[in-house]
């Protein structure tokens, strides 16, 4: 991570096709989605959602790099900050949930229905 490396990466025409970053981001997004669908532990689902958000962040950065526009980086900044708030609230909810039900298995927490 020396300045030489990053500067070289920035100045030069990208050695790696930018689509490659998009594909990596998309794959990570799909993995996160799979986690959100298949996991039963609420915390794991939450983790998967975090992964999805990071995958999207990567897409934003890739597009920002491709367009040379800092707006993409700003969006990522905001996503990160919102994720922090979301994690604080989400985890607090899980703790409260666990205290009430002694479980965080989403299959067992289905009392919010008709």
């Amino acid at each position: 991570m020396s300045p030489a490396t990053s500067a070289a990466a920035a100045v030069s025409v990208m050695a790696v096709a930018p689509q490659a970053y998009l594909v990596v981001g998309t794959i990570l997004f799909a993995i996160g989605l799979a986690g959100a669908l298949l996991k039963r532990n609420a915390l794991s689902i939450f983790l998967s959602i975090e992964l999805m958000m990071n995958a999207v962040n990567l897409l934003f950065l890739a597009y920002a790099r491709m367009r040379g526009d800092a707006a993409g980086q700003m969006v990522v900044f905001f996503v990160i900050a919102i994720a922090a708030a979301e994690a604080a609230i989400g985890l607090a909810i899980f703790v409260a949930l666990f205290r009430a039900r002694q479980t965080v298995d989403v299959d067992k927490i289905n009392f919010l229905k008709w």
């Binding site: 991570m1 020396s2 300045p3 030489a4 990053s6």
Partner: protein, 355 residues
């Protein structure tokens, strides 16, 4: 010579130099220093039998650690159990990459003079890199605590995670003041900013003077971040046996031990860089070969003082209670650090960008 090749060689040389100093020379002897210091404070001789003044004690300790039996608890998560000490050690050592430990040294090869800045990597996100790495360090303790499958360890792990996250906030916000004043996130820029000029006409232009509150918060938070007394709640031998490393022995235990000292050295270096002028001394230009070497020495002396402060405090102050620790972190340091930020911002504004 190819400049790229030269840069690479210089970087490798700097890495080797730093690690040699820290790993080989400093860390083992810090144990001795700690033990002799403790003895001094407690008015007893301390280890003085191995070698002259007990200087070989460090060697003896290392040998002992290698010789001991390496035990793994039966129901431990073996992978994480083995990984944890490494995770503790590595971030502490990689932190040194961005800390400027001297001004610069000119090297002439084939008639061309290269100025080698004495910092391994001048990253433009400087301090953020440091915070990123130290925030990874907490995983070592947490995972050690969890993977041991031991109640005391788990307690230590939980404690350290909450403690480090809490104090990282105050520490980060206190550090923002420094970068606000220097106008850059790069650590060499911070040192350069402190190198010249004076504060109030007679004090060195060091950040610790205008930002006294921030400096104090940063130093105290550094104690908490490194799990040193009076904030060593994660091991707290009176309550948790040995906290997160209760189940560790032999070389892995040694890694934790070394990690703690490496963190201590890194924290001291960081405090010196941010608040006490780094390698600079007021009134000295510190250029050229001898200047470069002198700057390394200045940096070493300053850092050594803070290392000694760590040891001094450890053997002087009692441990905090856990709720007190949290209360101080959130209710005192966090607001104070915000206050410091406000004050620094005002200072920068009032002085037109140059404090």
């Amino acid at each position: 010579m190819d400049p790229l090749l030269f840069d690479a060689l210089a970087a490798i040389a700097k890495i080797l130099f730093v690690w040699a100093v820290v790993l080989a020379a400093l860390l083992p002897n810090l144990v001795l220093l700690e033990r002799r210091g403790a003895a001094l404070i407690q008015d007893r001789p301390g280890p003085n039998r191995v070698g002259p003044f007990g200087l070989f004690q460090a060697l003896a300790d290392v040998v002992k650690m290698f010789m001991k039996e390496d035990m793994v608890p039966l129901y431990a998560d073996r992978l994480l159990y083995n990984l944890a000490p490494l995770i503790t050690m590595i971030p502490a050592l990689t932190t040194f990459a961005v800390i400027p430990f001297g001004s610069s040294i000119p090297v002439t090869i084939g008639g061309v003079t290269h100025i080698i800045p004495l910092v391994i990597a001048d990253v433009n996100v400087g301090i953020l890199y440091v915070f990123a790495l130290t925030s990874l360090g907490v995983y070592g303790l947490v995972l050690a605590g969890w993977s041991s499958n031991d109640k005391f360890s788990l307690m230590g792990g939980i404690r350290s995670s909450a403690q480090i996250i809490s104090y990282e906030l105050a520490m980060g916000i206190a550090a923002i003041g420094v970068f606000l004043a220097a106008g850059s996130l790069r650590l060499p820029a911070v040192v350069a900013y402190q190198h010249h000029g004076t504060f109030l006409g007679f004090l060195p232009h060091w950040n610790c003077f205008p930002q006294l509150i921030g400096c104090v918060i940063f130093v105290v938070s550094a104690f908490a971040e490194t799990n040193r007394l009076p904030f060593d709640l994660a091991e707290a031998e009176a309550e948790l046996v040995a906290g997160f490393h209760t189940e560790y022995s032999a070389f892995k235990f040694g890694m934790f031990f070394m990690g703690e000292y490496a963190n201590m050295v890194a924290a001291s270096a960081l405090i010196v860089t941010l608040y006490f002028g780094g390698w600079s001394l007021p009134g000295l230009a510190l250029t050229g070969l001898w200047g470069g070497l002198a700057s390394i020495a200045i940096f070493a002396v300053k850092t050594f003082f803070f290392i000694w402060l760590f040891i001094w405090v450890r053997w002087t102050l009692p441990r905090f209670r856990y709720d007190q620790l949290m209360a101080i972190g959130w209710k005192v340091f966090l607001p104070l650090s915000l206050l410091n930020l406000l004050w620094t911002g005002w200072l920068v504004l009032a002085s037109g960008g140059r404090v």
